[in-house]
Symmetry: C2
Subunit: 457 residues, 2 copies
């Protein structure tokens, strides 16, 4: 397409509709460029709140929005629900799974990260992680189902397996999941069951390193451990998980029973870095320079979790804030490069990316959190003030006005009334490791059955 | 448990947590009885609004609520997520899938109905019906995915299959689905795509009998047909579907292309009637007398869609209203039987069930409906007034105060702002009948690919 100056409009392809990709697209959306956004999913997910879907506080639609509607008002932007499967880097072309081939002048790769089971991929079915809406509803299913199965097993046999929920990994996701499961069991479900006592549920975090929340300062690690202890969450650090089986987890030689096991231990980068033949670190993140370019590829930008960007000698963490800022930076840089007619070698645009760290937060149940605040002042907060801060910040950053207020209302309602509308089990009723009688044969109609002893009351 | 009069408390088992079962349970919940509610799902679904989940207007949590929380405040009631698989009728025992055996003094069977593919069960994968939340999200997935795949196929090849949505069955569900798909395509998505025009989507209803909405009076059938025509929905009556294949439907010898086919044609009763050895009609509904008892079984009550109850020479239809009323009736009758110490033979409780018909309604898109009103006055309404009536009635009947207002807000928002938060595709990206290239091999990193001709702009 002509740009009105006699040249052709530049084409930008963005791979990935997470925080980095969406921010890049929104930054590029009003420029005289043609933009194509490609994502496997049709929706952007607000990942920091995913654990609230997993624990039935929010519904999927409250934290996800179609990418197509987020970018609806940018007529220069098209959205494809598709997946990159091949690159011809020198020819500046990317091939999609459907077979389409896109040419680009600039390529933004922001396909993020996924769970890493450290080579034990067979663990993924037994201990799901939390990256997508599907993951969240699967975790919700397992946690809620454990209580249901315990109740019905009480009716059948008068006993049930201990309701142990084991979370592998003591980072922010592990801590948030642990706090939320504890809340559900101890507060929200207390009047729901007749035969089991949900508050007897035991939540345990297994962390291989010496401390939970390794990225936080030591004083907040201590506070977090205290707040978890108050909720009754057990924390075990320093032991490594050596096996996961239906119904239990092995930590070194010790067997820990678990009706539900969740994975929050490790992530690895999207495979696209390797697929493009770029230099990657051991987790698959692409090494990038100050302009977020991989070596020798000024037309390619790597953003978000996929980028290995070092600042002041430390790698910038794979969380939402740097991803958003990287997306914004890339949009601005492409704008400058094209506006100044500099081509794609970047000459004349000197300023590099710098991560502006406003802080980090993790909630611990419904009333506490830890917050390492870096801006507008420096502070370490914990407990209720940190929780309120977390609440405000997360509502503020929710993309899309409607979602923001809907989520706020939902939270307020849940907080005040222990609401339960989202507590739905969909899909299969199987739970790995739950011992149930199998092969109950359908008897002939009306014929007497060998039913054993009836339920006692 | 003792009832305080020296006798044992009577035990009631309710199978099924739909409208009939929930109403029975709520009616029995304050009485000196022990009640057990058994359902395969953990949630009650407000079925009349299920099509709005299927078409991405509402979220699952807005029309479903855990049965356990609906019945939370009745301490005499326990809820089991389980399934009846066998009966010993003379001994008054029911066996559940988990292996538990429940004894009862009264049994309420309200397990409803499911899709009937008239013996062609292989059609179920190609043309999903709409009975559960899982069905609704599957339909949502298919409808939304069709537009996504068309867009990406345009990019790849410059053309896409016609966006024909075929709905088999012209009853209320078929009509409501058709109107809602037409709305989505023509109103809600108009700014979302760059390469396809969603408003070119074609919705067709295939009805085997001579008229749509067979249960409605002829004048409203005509009105409904007019309103559907206004939305651009094609209606074909009188021809029978003889085959369903990926990508098309055969009506007699004519092939009708369909990117998505939905089933709203037939239902059959839950198999429990047959399993209990009771007398059933050809759809599996249990023939019941004026007290909703099957012949010779005054301790068993059949409610809702599973009941074949005749009034004034006609079978009461399998919709929400009679189900609720039957549930209420059964609770009252059991209350009388137990309070009067009459045993379970029913002597002394003369009054039988009578369905009080307040009318029927079906929406046609977002601004029209047909309503056959029977109470508090008799009238036939269509168009916008009928739609408003439908709205008020359905909000009023939503179980659970929170859901009621949440749904209302959601509707208002959607209506005014063409909201799109619920328009999420989760699960697989496959669509039966969609011709896509398969076996795209992942190339060696960085190696040149045979990519064919690049995308034209």
């Amino acid at each position: 397409m002509a740009d009105g100056k006699g040249g052709m409009r530049k084409r930008v392809v963005i791979l990935g509709g997470g925080f980095a990709g969406i921010h890049a697209a929104m930054g590029l959306g009003r420029l005289p460029l043609d933009v194509t956004m490609v994502d496997r999913k049709n929706h952007h997910t607000f990942q920091p709140l995913l654990y609230q879907v997993a624990l039935a506080v929010l519904s999927p639609a409250e934290i996800a929005q179609p990418i197509r509607s987020i970018l609806r008002d940018y007529p220069n932007t098209e959205v494809l629900m598709d997946e990159a499967v091949g690159f011809e880097i020198d020819a500046r072309r990317v091939k999609l799974k459907s077979g389409a081939v896109l040419e680009y002048d600039y390529l933004v790769v922001a396909t993020g990260s996924t769970h890493s089971y450290f080579g034990k991929d067979e663990w993924s079915k037994l201990a799901p992680g939390l990256k997508t809406l599907e993951d969240a509803t699967e975790i919700r299913r397992r946690v809620l189902l454990a209580f249901e199965l315990a109740e019905r097993q009480m009716v059948e046999t008068g006993s049930h397996p201990a309701l142990n929920f084991v979370i592998i990994g003591g980072g922010p996701t592990g801590v948030e999941l642990a706090g939320a499961i504890s809340d559900i069991a101890k507060l929200y479900m207390k009047k729901d069951f007749r035969h089991i006592d949900p508050s007897m549920a035991q939540v345990m975090i297994l962390e291989g390193s010496p401390n939970i929340l390794a990225a936080y300062p030591p004083d907040l690690q201590v506070k977090a451990a205290e707040q978890l202890a108050k909720l009754g969450v057990q924390v075990r650090t320093g032991g490594h998980v050596t096996d996961i089986q239906p119904g239990y987890v092995m930590v070194e030689d010790e067997k820990i029973e678990a009706v539900v096991t969740l994975w929050a231990a490790g992530v690895q980068a999207s495979p696209l870095g390797k697929l493009m033949g770029l230099e990657v670190d051991r987790r698959g993140c692409v090494l990038v320079d100050e302009h977020l370019n991989p070596k020798g590829r000024p037309e390619i930008f790597i953003c978000g979790d996929l980028a290995h960007f070092e600042q002041d000698g430390k790698q910038v963490p794979g969380v939402a804030q740097p991803a958003m800022q990287m997306g914004d930076f890339v949009a601005k840089r492409i704008a400058k490069l094209t506006a100044q007619g500099l081509g794609s070698d970047g000459s004349g645009v000197a300023k590099g990316f710098r991560y502006f760290d406003k802080g980090d937060m993790a909630t611990i149940g419904r009333k506490a959190a830890v917050a390492k605040i870096e801006w507008p002042f420096k502070a370490h907060w914990s407990g209720f003030p940190a929780w309120v801060t977390w609440l405000v910040v997360h509502i503020f950053f929710l993309i899309g006005f409607r979602n923001r207020w809907s989520v706020f209302r939902q939270w307020a309602y849940t907080y005040l009334f222990f609401n339960d509308g989202a507590r739905l089990i969909t899909g299969s009723q199987e739970l790995p490791g739950w011992v149930e009688k199998e092969g109950v044969a359908l008897p002939v109609a009306g014929a007497p059955l060998d039913m054993g002893s009836p339920k006692s009351n």
